[in-house]
């Protein structure tokens, strides 16, 4: 088959390499042109290295691009972690169809940063979806899904890694089915009454509130954890004496507490220091202070009291929605 690949991120690179070893013809690879960080691997750069035509991904917004898709006899458009909304003329141009790999189970987790949202919302399972592209984002009929458990110690990065692996398998399966018999591709309409779309906003504007249950706080910390890489949500923000403290790593203890929320308890040295939440102590192990990741036990003292994160508008940075994230693709799920 003739495949037009629109892709970014790790999933895009891995799929490109898998397709390069398949019998399918890659008509072109559409991605963000590699302008910055010449030493970084990007889909664009990998495609160039492999000898494939590379086209700017933004062309998919142009209805006239549909003519190119038809003239190149594209059978399938595959969209993997690219954020451009494809014009409906282009969506309908391939011989078989246009398909998207979404790093989340649909219709429950449509939109952006869904990996983080699932952890934040205390889900126990997650998944990835391959669906046919429709004009409404992440709303087209489902081809296949793969589910997996969210482990208690999963972070956003570890869960995202699992999505990439599972998603690659689903896409390759789609291509096998399409090559054998396109009519056999399952297309199950989504129950859009169950759809939940997540936008760019960060929960609680990134503010940590100590009066919340311990589990909720630790989930927030895990949802922001892309360590050792920058997080698209930054980290949940508390404060001490009017200064920001972000909690980068924390774990549940199961120990009930009746100390006022935000109270700093005993130190466990390098393992962390206890902080009171609404119901239990959590063990805070890593903090971000003044841009540096440090051991919590080095920065806090028993008996101190942490405050909730400050309102961004009061901090004078109301426009901040992301800090120091590295890759827009991961940021946007």
């Amino acid at each position: 088959m003739n495949i037009l690949l629109i892709a970014e991120e790790s999933g895009g690179i891995q799929l490109l390499r898998a397709l390069a070893q398949s019998r399918h013809r890659i008509v072109a690879v559409m991605a963000l042109p590699a302008k910055r960080s010449p030493d970084r691997a990007t889909v664009w750069r990998v495609a160039e290295t492999l000898g494939y035509p590379t086209w700017p991904a933004g062309l998919v917004k142009d209805p006239d691009f549909a003519r190119t898709v038809r003239s190149e006899k594209v059978d399938i458009i595959l969209n993997v972690h690219s954020l451009y909304v494809i014009h409906k003329e282009v969506i309908n141009a391939p011989g078989i169809g246009s398909f998207n790999l979404h790093p989340g189970p649909l219709p429950a987790y449509a939109g952006l940063n869904t990996v983080s949202w699932a952890i934040y919302r205390d889900e126990s399972t997650y998944g990835v979806t391959v669906h046919k592209i429709a004009p409404e984002v992440d709303a087209g009929p489902i081809v296949s899904m793969s589910f997996f458990k969210i482990e208690a110690n999963d972070t956003a990065l570890s869960l995202y890694s699992r999505c990439v692996k599972a998603g690659l398998a689903l896409v390759l399966e789609l291509l096998e089915t399409a090559a054998a018999d396109p009519r056999a591709i399952p297309l199950v309409p989504q129950d859009l009454a169950k759809r939940r779309y997540f936008g760019k906003a960060i929960p609680e504007q990134g503010r940590l509130r100590w009066s919340r249950p311990a589990r909720e706080i630790v989930n927030f910390v895990r949802a922001c954890d892309y360590y050792p890489f920058p997080s698209p949500w930054s980290h949940p923000r508390a404060s001490k004496g009017g200064h920001d403290i972000a909690v980068a790593k924390a774990s549940l203890t199961g120990r009930a507490c009746d100390a006022p929320p935000g109270t700093v308890g005993e130190s466990e040295g390098a393992s962390g220091i206890y902080v009171a939440c609404a119901d239990e102590w959590i063990l805070a192990s890593k903090l971000i202070m003044k841009g540096r990741r440090i051991d919590a036990a080095d920065a806090l003292r028993p008996g101190e009291r942490l405050e909730d994160g400050q309102d961004p508008s009061e901090r004078g940075d109301a426009g901040r929605s992301r800090l120091d994230f590295e890759h827009r693709g991961i940021a946007d799920g």
Binding site: I13, T42, L157
Partner: protein
């Protein structure tokens, strides 16, 4: 030691052939030099699993396991199911 050396070579090849990244030495700090970003890291995990038959768990995602090629080699060799002949 000879096994670790050959393993380092194989891992270096993963970086150059699979990830289009040239690592100057087995002791180059991959994070501090910016060579290993989030995209490359996820790719690396997949490549390690595929090439050596290991499973990387959440508990393994400790930065020090992946800071240099030599540490990655030691980490991979320590994992259950490690197979250097794939």
């Amino acid at each position: 030691m000879a096994d670790l050396n050959s393993l380092c070579s194989r891992i270096g090849a993963i970086f150059s052939e699979q990830m289009n990244l040239e690592v100057p030495s087995v002791d180059t700090d991959l994070f501090d030099t910016g060579l290993l970003d989030s995209l490359a890291f996820v790719n690396l995990l997949t490549c390690l699993e595929q090439k050596f038959g290991i499973a990387v768990s959440v508990d393994d995602l400790e930065i020090e396991n992946f800071r240099t090629v030599s540490r990655i080699a030691a980490f991979a060799a320590s994992k259950n199911g490690f197979n250097n002949n794939q």
